[in-house]
Each structure stands twice: as structure tokens, then as C-alpha cells.
């Protein structure tokens, strides 16, 4: 096991299909047209010296180290900027080139502090390597050039430092920030020897526009931009490829290690979701895995008011199992259930649902996807036939009009947002449907063509109005509809859409979006060669979430934007494995692969494989479990890696339900909010400590690899297995790969997936079976999975959560880049520096009439409850709308949200709550008493002396 070295080809691969043959140093090679001479040489195994080129960036041609000679051409062109040509004959090394290169290196070195032995980049410095490569033995200008050693380091960023003394002004960092990340935070100030890199206009990194993605650090060939962890710990000695455990982009990383300690995470260039890029969370925020708050010993208590008692694994597991059995004996087998996690692996999720269906003997299993993307599953499977997005991320490279609805990718899905912004810089058009002016609407180098700043809760009306314009203006793709959908169903739906209440003029009145803006956006999307839709929780977390998903699917079919690259309907999934947890049968009505529990055939498959008979009736969903708990019929819950007490709406209702239960078992890294109501705590383990797979938003299954032993002793899958065995259900897996084999043999869309196949292919997008042995990047090509695409009528029904004199404002919620959901992980890293508390964004007008000033404490009250937080006055939100994040437990934002939910799936309506805002002196009584309770219930009893 050593370090994985990825070859740097110097310039990007060409996508041309035309091939060109040339000779380099006497060897013939054939490459796509547009390939650089440098890349062609590297493919032959010849490394031409280089400094300013790297294959993540467009070639730049500034350092002049990569010179070559080409027969028949004058001079010594730079190989990184010279494209190959048919019949070209290239020489990469001769006396003349060697002399020129030495000259270049001499200049660089004379201006560089030569403290190589103590430099943090020692053994990982391209300048050092190049000095070696060109055979530099002396520096004629002496070493007295400016060594800049006195230059001040910028250590303001918590994760990396900038040491200007080492800078060779190659511009790789500036270009990475522009081309890869799309933030444009860096510039080169000055010129010649006095030029230097600077974030913003002589600002520090921390206070600049920089979003700490680390692309510049990765691109820097010297120690100028360097991870603080490397400076502290030294260079890593081995690495393994794994997958980020934060968001649904699913970035692939090399975990670079010393022993069992992570030195740094480096985005993997071969990662097909991220192509070598990442955001601040995946690259830097992994410190939570070893945070002191982490619980590593199992604990039990008989009452939630008791302090915790540390016990052995055996005792904890046996206690949980005996409690579950006792409850079932007394209250029937349906009186217990469990919740799977979208943060855990596919294999772990599969095991939890198996334990519940086969071991508990009921279908009371649900997952946190209930509160985010359950409407996606329902809506897309009804219309297209699969509960998943239609495209891969690369597809955006060919989109011409991009419609983003209720998603804030620059914060929520940053690496995908960088890809999207790149496409926008190439000229694609952008329509944003969002109540708030997100960074995609307007920020440096991004300017949406249309921003439909709708009133929260009117998505369905807006999307239907877009369809209305398209049909009434004759822009529908009737050939596509006749070919791939049922024409009669379409005609009926079109009739409905053409009714006056769906016209832009009518919808303007409901949504506040001018009719002309709706018309313009509809024309833009419908007439683009390729129109793509991306949407997020701003679509699903509404009482009409499912209806909006249906309306979106209708819109895509109406314009023929399905079944090829550049188009499609793409849910931006929140958590790392929310797609996977849904695929793995986490819903109470479906087995893995979205097959309803009432289906005879699928039940037989599992009954045979698992050797038990299975229930054909749907089980309880999370909110219904809590209702049943209040009614006294549901008393035991196994929660793996989920924090419903913080993340689910209407906290008071959740707390009531949990308190009513007799045995709550929480398996997690930390004593989370739900654990405050638990009787058994089983310490979980982080993604660095186990093997498995995650499935990202593009249906891409990727490996998670164990790089350190679990601090708690066991992988989460092993803990579920112990619990199953203690309940009398035999489970004997030796490795997660065996679980995947079981998934593959029982689920057709995964039939071709195995750890061996993943090893071979890197990653696999399901469906993967005999029809698609290497997976399916783009779905519904030529025909829909369900046969014909189905237009489903989805009418706008206003939510019952309405503003009125008492609650005149609409609250909507979201998240920010540096934090992740309930913040259990990110708050335990340096990321906390970027977001110390949740703030309430309020429009200047609304603030003024309430006498609220920026930074004041305000009371936020709804029909469900009240909380207090500080106000931030901004015109990002429209008058009448306020906005907050939910990253800190103290904010208790979900005390405010109501238990209204989506009509079809019960996905809670987080995105619309009628509220009032008023000045306040500080936290509410509930916040203070909740924190007191929370502190009390986290007490761990001292171990008694022997």
C-alpha cells in the first residue's frame, strides 16, 4: 500500500472524435484532434518538464519550461499550448532545449528561498522535481535574488496557509479558482519580479470572496498554498480512494494517510462525479471523526431522565434486543420499528430494513429521505418509471438552457454548481425559480437570465404556467410526445394546462412573478436545443411537493427534454446517500428497488432468500410512528445515524412521540438531539472507518474504503448484525461485499453490481444488469423505463399554512456552504468559523416597520411555537419573506415549522411557515430549558470504583 499517484497530463483531454497521428522522439502515437503535444507525449510515457501547466486547467503557456522542437517549424514552441497535427514530428530533448530549460529554472530558483529540507512541500514540490528534471546544478545569478523570506504568511484560513515567499507566480491558483471553482477570488497583483498572488484586493483569504474549496491549494506546484495539516504532520505515505460523506454530489477523494491518521483529503481526478474538485466540507471538514465529543462506548439507561451508564457491547445489544422483544410480546409485533440513515452506506441501510422486515416482522421502516426527497421518488416513478434523476453530472456540459428550481447548488451542491457555472460562462442560459436571490441569480460572473422570485408555496402554479405558455405558443415537441408518451393522456393534460387559471396572468396574481417573466422563461427553456431541469428541496418540502415533481416531469416531456445528454430532470439530492437509502428499500411500502411490498413476486424473492415470511402491508412512516407512539401503540424504535429530534419539523410533536416510547435505540457518532430521548446508545463509526458504498444523485454507486480502525470497535453494519442476532435473526456477513452480493441477486437494477465490478469500473450508475453491464449514465433513451411517459395532472392547491394578521410573514429555510444539515459533523470542525450561529434574513422594509436592526435578537413565532435568533437585514429575501438555516440545535428552527406535509408522501412542509418577527432580548424559555434538558440528558455516570 503506497500513495496513489495520478499522472498529470499537463493539459485536459480532448473530446474530439477525429484522430491525429504524430511522432514524438521517434515514437508514433494517435490521439484525438485538439490534444496538446505535452499530453500526447505524457501518454507515450514522456514527461516534458512543466510548471504552469496541469491537466485540471486550460493551458496557459507562461513558464516556458515545456519547450520542444517541431520539425519544419521555427523556434521552440511551448508543448502545453501547441496542439498536435497530422504527421507532426516532435523532439522533446536535445542540447538546445536542455540549455533553454536550465535557463528558465535558474531564473525561478534565483528568486526562491532554498529551504527545501525544512519546507512542508519537501518531496511533493514540482519546482524541486523540475530542478532535478532539467539537471540544474548551478545558478549563475547567485542565490542572492529576492528570497522574500520576510514576507508575511496569510494563515487566516483555518485549513490552509499562503506563504508568498515560495510563490513562483505560475497563476495555477488564480486559474483554478476561476476555471475549476468559478469563484474568481484570486488575482495577480503587480508585474515582473514584484508580482504576487492576492485574494481580492489585498485582503486576507478568510475575509475575501474565497469559499475555501482548496482548488488553488491542490493546483499550487510549490509550498506557497499548503494544507495546514501537511505542515503539521508531514507528507502522507499511503492513500486509498473513498467517497465524501457529506452531500449528494458524491465527490471521490484520495484519503492520504500517515498510519491511521488522515493527513489530507485530495479530490480524485478519476472520480466521475467531481473530476478532481471538491468543496470545503469534503476536503477539509473531516476532523469530526476524531472529535472529543465522539462517543465510543455503548451506554444504556432505563429512564431518559437517568444519567447514561457505560456498558459492554454485549450488555447494550442484549438490553436493546430484550426490550424490543418485551414490547412486541406485550403490544404486538407492529409496536416497534426503525429508521435508516442516508448518511450510512447502502449495505448498512439494506441491513437495517432487512432486520425490520425479517427480524421485527413488520414494515415499520422509514428514512430521513421522508423529509427531503420522498416526493421525487413518487413523482418520477409515476411519470417516467424510475425514482431517480435522469442524467449524469457531465450532462450539464451540453445544456443550453438550465432551469434551477428550489435549489441553491452553490451552497448545497457546490462541486456540481462549479460545473454548472462553467457551462454558464460558456454561454448557456439560466432560469432560477427561488423566493430568495441566491448566488446563482447574481454573483461575480453569474447572472441569471430570469429570476422567478415566487412567493413560497406557489411552485406548482409557476411550473404549470410555464407549460401553459409552451402549449399555447405552439412550442411543444409533439413528435416526441407522439413517439414516447400516450397521446390521449397528453391531450387530457394539455386541456387542463390550457385552462385560464394556469395562464401566466392568473399565476402572476398568486406568485407575484410578472407574467412576462414567466413567458420569457418558458420560451427560453422550450426553444433551447437542450433544456435541463435541476431541482432541490425547495420543490419537495412543501404540502405540494409531489405535485411540483409531477409538473416538472410533465414540462420536460412536453419539450422533449428527456433521453439524451444535456437535458433531463435532475433532483439534487441532499445527503451523501439519500439516493442509496431510498434504493435500498428504506420506505415502509417498498422493498429494495422500489417494489411495493404487496407484490407477490418480489415478496417471494425475499422470503426465499431470507427464509421467513414477510408482511404484504405497508408500515408506518416517521410522522405516523410518532402519532402512533402518542396513541400508545408504537413503543420501540431503532434509529441508525439520524437525528429526527433536530431535523424533523414540529420538534414538540417529535419530542412528545419519542418521550412516549419505552425503548429508543440510537446509533450515532455523537449524543445527538434524538439521543436525549434514548434508552440505548450504540456508538457508530465514520465513513473513514468502514467499507461500503454510497450512491450519489446521479445514481452512481461508489466505494467507501476503510482507512482506519473503527474508534468504537465496529462498523455500523456489524452493530446491526449483532442486534439482529440478539433478536434471534441469524446474520453472518463477513464483509459488506457479501451484503452487496445479496442486494445484486435480489434486485434486478443492481444485478451487475459487485465490489469486483466497482474495483474494475471505478463507479457504476444503476441500472446495471445484463442489459447495461457497465451501468446507465443517462436514462430513458428512446423509451421511458415505464414504457410510455405519463402526463399526470397536478393542480395547484394553496397550502393551508397561510399568512394572516398574527403571522404575516412567510418563513423559508435552507442551508449554507460551510455547514451541513443539522451540523453534527461540521459544527465539530473549523468550518464553524464561517457560521457561528443561524441568522434570520429579513428584508429592510420588514425590519424597519418592526424596529429591528441588523444583529438584533428577534423572536420568531409561528402557530407551532417560537424561538429567538439574531436578525440579518438583507434584500436577498423579498418583502414578506424571511429565511433561516437550521445548522445549530440552539436555534430550534423546527420548533417553528408546522406538521403540514406533502399530500402524497408526508414530506414535511419546511419551506413555508407563516410567522411573525418581533424584537426580543434573547433566547426563549423553550430554548433555555431545552438546552438545560439536553445537557442533563447527556450526563454519563462515573464508573463506580471496583
Amino acid at each position: 500500500m503506497g500513495l496513489i499517484h495520478e499522472i498529470d497530463y499537463g493539459t485536459k483531454a480532448s473530446t474530439s472524435t477525429k484522430l491525429v497521428t504524430l511522432k514524438i522522439d521517434g515514437n508514433s502515437i494517435t490521439v484525438p484532434e485538439g490534444t496538446s503535444v505535452m499530453r500526447a507525449a505524457t501518454e507515450l510515457g514522456t514527461q516534458i518538464p512543466k510548471l504552469c501547466a496541469t491537466d485540471m486547467l486550460d493551458s496557459y503557456g507562461s513558464c516556458r519550461l515545456c519547450l520542444v522542437e517541431i520539425e519544419g517549424r521555427a523556434g521552440t514552441p511551448a508543448s502545453c499550448t501547441t496542439p498536435v497535427a497530422e504527421g507532426m514530428v516532435v523532439h522533446t530533448q536535445n542540447a538546445k532545449l536542455a540549455k533553454l530549460r536550465k535557463g528558465v529554472m535558474e531564473l525561478y530558483i534565483s528568486d526562491h528561498p532554498l529551504d527545501c529540507l525544512t519546507c512542508s512541500a519537501n518531496s511533493d514540490c514540482e519546482l524541486q522535481d523540475m530542478a532535478g528534471a532539467v539537471g540544474l546544478r548551478e545558478v549563475r545569478y547567485g542565490y542572492e535574488g529576492e528570497n522574500h523570506l520576510g514576507a508575511t504568511k496569510d494563515i487566516s484560513n483555518p485549513y490552509f496557509q499562503f506563504d508568498p515567499s515560495k510563490c513562483i507566480v505560475c497563476s495555477r491558483c488564480v486559474r483554478a479558482c476561476e476555471e475549476v471553482q468559478g469563484t474568481f477570488a484570486l488575482t495577480i497583483e503587480g508585474s515582473g519580479f514584484s508580482s504576487k498572488v492576492s485574494p481580492g484586493i489585498s485582503e486576507e483569504f478568510f475575509s475575501s470572496e474565497c469559499v475555501s474549496c482548496g482548488a488553488c491549494v491542490q493546483a499550487c506546484p510549490t509550498a506557497t498554498l499548503m494544507e495546514k495539516s501537511v505542515i503539521e504532520m508531514g507528507q502522507p505515505e499511503h492513500s486509498a480512494v473513498t467517497t465524501c460523506a457529506y452531500c449528494g454530489v458524491g465527490c471521490s477523494f484520495k484519503a492520504e494517510m500517515r498510519g491511521e491518521e488522515v493527513v489530507r483529503m485530495v479530490p480524485y481526478k478519476d472520480g466521475k462525479a467531481n473530476h478532481g474538485h471538491s468543496c470545503v466540507k469534503g476536503r477539509f471538514a473531516w476532523g469530526y471523526a476524531t472529535h472529543r465529543d465522539r462517543i465510543t462506548k455503548p451506554m444504556i439507561r432505563s429512564k431518559i431522565t437517568d444519567p447514561w451508564r457505560e456498558v459492554s457491547w454485549e450488555e447494550a445489544i442484549n438490553y436493546a434486543a430484550s426490550e424490543f422483544k418485551r414490547i412486541q410480546a406485550k403490544h404486538g409485533k407492529d409496536s416497534i420499528g426503525g429508521i435508516t440513515s442516508s448518511r450510512c452506506t447502502n449495505e448498512e441501510t439494506y441491513l437495517v430494513q432487512k432486520l425490520i422486515r425479517a427480524g421485527f416482522g413488520n414494515n415499520n421502516v422509514d428514512t430521513c429521505a421522508r423529509v427531503c426527497h420522498s416526493p421525487t421518488g413518487y413523482g418520477l416513478s409515476k411519470t417516467f418509471g424510475t425514482s431517480a434523476g435522469t442524467q449524469d453530472f457531465d450532462s450539464v456540459d451540453e445544456s443550453d438552457a438550465i432551469l434551477v428550481i428550489g435549489a441553491n447548488p452553490t451552497d448545497g451542491h457546490p462541486v456540481f454548481a462549479s460545473r454548472m457555472k462553467k457551462r454558464l460562462r460558456e454561454g448557456a442560459k439560466l432560469i432560477v425559480v427561488d423566493p430568495r436571490r441566491t448566488d446563482l441569480v447574481r454573483s461575480p460572473h453569474v447572472n441569471a437570465d430570469y429570476h422567478l422570485a415566487l412567493k413560497p408555496g406557489t411552485n406548482v402554479a409557476i411550473v404549470n404556467a410555464l407549460s401553459h405558455v409552451i402549449i399555447s405558443e405552439g412550442l411543444a415537441d409533439e413528435d416526441f410526445i407522439r413517439d414516447q408518451c400516450d397521446w390521449n393522456e397528453y391531450a387530457e393534460w394539455a386541456d387542463f394546462i390550457l385552462r385560464p387559471h394556469n395562464s401566466p396572468e392568473a399565476v402572476e396574481k398568486l406568485s407575484g412573478v410578472p407574467a412576462e417573466t414567466i413567458r420569457g422563461a418558458a420560451r427560453l427553456y422550450a426553444t433551447a436545443r437542450n433544456g435541463a431541469i435541476y431541482y432541490g428541496l425547495g420543490v419537495t418540502e412543501h404540502s405540494q411537493g409531489t405535485s411540483t415533481v409531477l409538473a416538472i416531469a410533465n414540462l420536460a416531456m412536453l419539450t422533449g427534454n428527456i433521453g439524451r445528454k444535456g437535458v433531463g430532470v435532475n433532483p439534487l439530492r441532499g445527503q451523501n446517500n439519500v439516493q442509496g437509502s431510498c434504493d435500498m428499500g428504506s420506505f415502509p411500502h417498498e422493498f429494495p428497488g422500489y417494489r411495493h411490498v404487496s407484490g407477490e413476486t418480489v415478496r417471494q424473492i425475499y422470503e426465499q432468500d431470507w427464509g421467513v415470511s414477510l408482511s404484504a402491508e405497508p408500515g408506518l412512516r416517521i410522522p405516523n410512528m410518532l402519532d402512533a407512539a402518542m396513541d400508545g401503540t408504537f413503543l420501540g424504535l431503532y434509529v441508525q445515524g439520524e437525528d429526527i429530534a433536530q431535523s424533523d419539523p414540529d420538534t414538540k410533536h417529535i419530542v412528545g412521540g419519542l418521550t412516549a416510547m419505552e425503548c429508543v435505540v440510537v446509533q450515532d457518532l455523537f449524543l445527538n438531539e434524538t439521543a436525549n430521548y434514548a434508552h440505548v446508545f450504540l456508538p457508530g463509526c465514520s465513513f473513514l472507518e468502514k467499507d461500503g458504498t454510497f450512491t450519489n444523485a446521479e445514481r452512481r454507486i461508489q466505494r467507501v474504503r476503510k482507512v482506519m480502525s473503527p474508534k468504537n470497535g465496529y462498523g455500523d453494519w456489524e452493530i446491526t448484525q449483532m442486534l439482529a442476532n440478539a433478536m434471534g435473526m441469524e446474520m453472518h456477513y463477513n464483509h459488506p461485499s457479501e451484503i452487496m452480493d445479496e442486494i445484486a441477486r435480489t434486485t434486478n437494477s443492481f444485478a451487475g453490481v459487485s465490489y469486483d465490478a466497482l474495483e474494475r469500473l471505478g463507479s457504476i450508475q444503476w441500472p446495471c444488469n445484463e442489459l447495461a453491464p457497465e451501468g446507465t449514465p443517462i436514462m430513458h433513451i428512446g423509451a421511458f423505463v415505464r414504457g410510455q411517459g405519463q402526463f399526470v395532472i397536478a393542480d395547484y392547491v394553496p397550502t393551508d399554512e397561510k399568512t394572516g394578521p398574527l403571522f404575516p410573514l412567510l418563513l423559508t429555510t435552507g442551508r449554507i456552504l460551510s455547514q451541513y444539515n443539522v451540523g453534527a459533523q461540521t459544527r465539530r470542525t473549523e468550518n464553524a468559523k464561517w457560521h457561528e450561529e443561524d441568522l434570520l434574513e429579513i428584508h429592510p422594509h420588514d425590519a424597519e416597520v418592526r424596529g429591528v436592526k441588523d444583529g438584533d435578537w428577534v423572536k420568531l413565532a409561528s402557530r407551532a411555537g417560537e424561538t429567538a435568533l439574531r436578525a440579518k437585514i438583507t434584500d436577498r429575501v423579498a418583502p414578506g419573506v424571511v429565511y433561516t438555516t437550521f445548522h445549530h440545535p440552539f436555534t430550534q428552527a423546527n420548533v417553528i415549522t408546522t406538521d403540514y406535509s406533502d399530500w402524497a408522501t408526508n414530506c414535511p412542509e419546511y419551506k413555508v411557515t407563516a410567522v411573525q418577527v418581533s424584537p426580543s432580548n434573547g433566547p426563549t424559555e423553550w430554548q433555555t430549558s431545552y438546552m438545560a434538558h439536553s445537557d442533563a440528558s447527556r450526563r454519563i455516570a462515573p464508573i463506580a470504583a471496583e
Binding site: 411500502h589 402491508e617 405497508p618 402518542m630 395532472i793 399530500w903
Partner: protein, 81 residues
């Protein structure tokens, strides 16, 4: 009306509310189709405790239930018998 979380009949009120919401989701279909779709939806997604509670409510007059979901529930019960 929204269900009152403090009411002793909270779950039942909530189920009525949910059934009505489902009804609204299908209103734009032809009435006969809507009744079938509602029945099918309830059968696919509601756990038996929830169905039992709402059937009990239906027997007691089904107060608060809109017409379409009421018919959907009746249809469902017929098919379950």
C-alpha cells in the same frame, strides 16, 4: 381546518386532514377515476392502524371528510372485505 396537535383526537383529525389532502391531489381527474386513485393510494401507503382509525371515523359519520376521499375510503373498504 388544520389538525390541532394538542387535541386528544390528534391522530384521527390528522388522518382526516391527510385523506382530504390526498383527495385534493386527485381532484382534477374524472371523478370515477379519482375515487379509484384515492383508494389505491391509501391502500399502497397507509398502515393498517391508520386505515382502521379512519374507517372507524367513517363509521361514525366521517365528519370533516371531503366527498371524494370519503368515496375512496368506502371503495377501499369494499375491496378489502
Amino acid at each position: 381546518m388544520s389538525p390541532n396537535p394538542m387535541s386528544p383526537n390528534h391522530t384521527q383529525e390528522k388522518l382526516v386532514y391527510m385523506a382530504n389532502q390526498i383527495g385534493k391531489g386527485f381532484t382534477m381527474r374524472k371523478p370515477e377515476q379519482a375515487v379509484l386513485d384515492i383508494a389505491d393510494h391509501l391502500k399502497k401507503f397507509w398502515e393498517k392502524r391508520m386505515l382502521a382509525q379512519i374507517f372507524e371515523h367513517l363509521d361514525a359519520g366521517g365528519q370533516g371528510l371531503d366527498n371524494l376521499p370519503k368515496q375512496g375510503l368506502q371503495r377501499l373498504r369494499e375491496t378489502m372485505q
